[in-house]
Symmetry: C2
Subunit: 123 residues, 2 copies
Amino acid sequence: MDPDSVSKAFVDHYYSTFDTNRAGLANLYQENSMLNFEGQKYQGAQSIAGKLTSLPFQQCKHHINTVDCQPSGPAGGMLVFVSGNLSLPGEQHALKFSQMFHLIPTPQGSFYVQNDIFRLNYA
Amino acid sequence: MDPDSVSKAFVDHYYSTFDTNRAGLANLYQENSMLNFEGQKYQGAQSIAGKLTSLPFQQCKHHINTVDCQPSGPAGGMLVFVSGNLSLPGEQHALKFSQMFHLIPTPQGSFYVQNDIFRLNYA
């Protein structure tokens, strides 16, 4: 697959997992993975999944507006940059967000998330 | 300097150069550098600087809201994620934007921009 297809497939998988089985996101991170979530820093799959599963809402729905990707270097890594909207129950207006992922290939031919930075875009 | 200080210094330098001497941005990129600008792709310092200096406005002012950074791997690279506002002459409202940079160390002890992805955040 070309990089654009890989990144779109990853993005679809990531956000559908987030919206339907958030604890399953732990499988996408490894021990050296890093998350900056609204400026708070987490490291390691367990810590990152702990943060994501303890967010103060149970249901949510991500809608993706744009996906950009670039190779990050000669080792097969990929940078993915996403913008979109996050709908929460009881909230009339969706929250805009931007997020970037640095994906690193695994020996099994898949990717894991080495770097993850998430920010809401306040109006 | 710690990574947060390096990334903040880079961000200050990048946007002050953008706002006062845009052609000088060419020095921050190399031949293998990549830019995605609102979904359009450019490669190499000359092509990237050509795009940035031909944007349809002469004056602009970036205001930075957030800067996040993470090491991108063992080779000393750094991921920098920025959100902010872009003010243009004659426009009443500033444009919100998000941008990410992948910085790679140079033998001279500085950094160049390997990857650059820019998106406006439309309301």
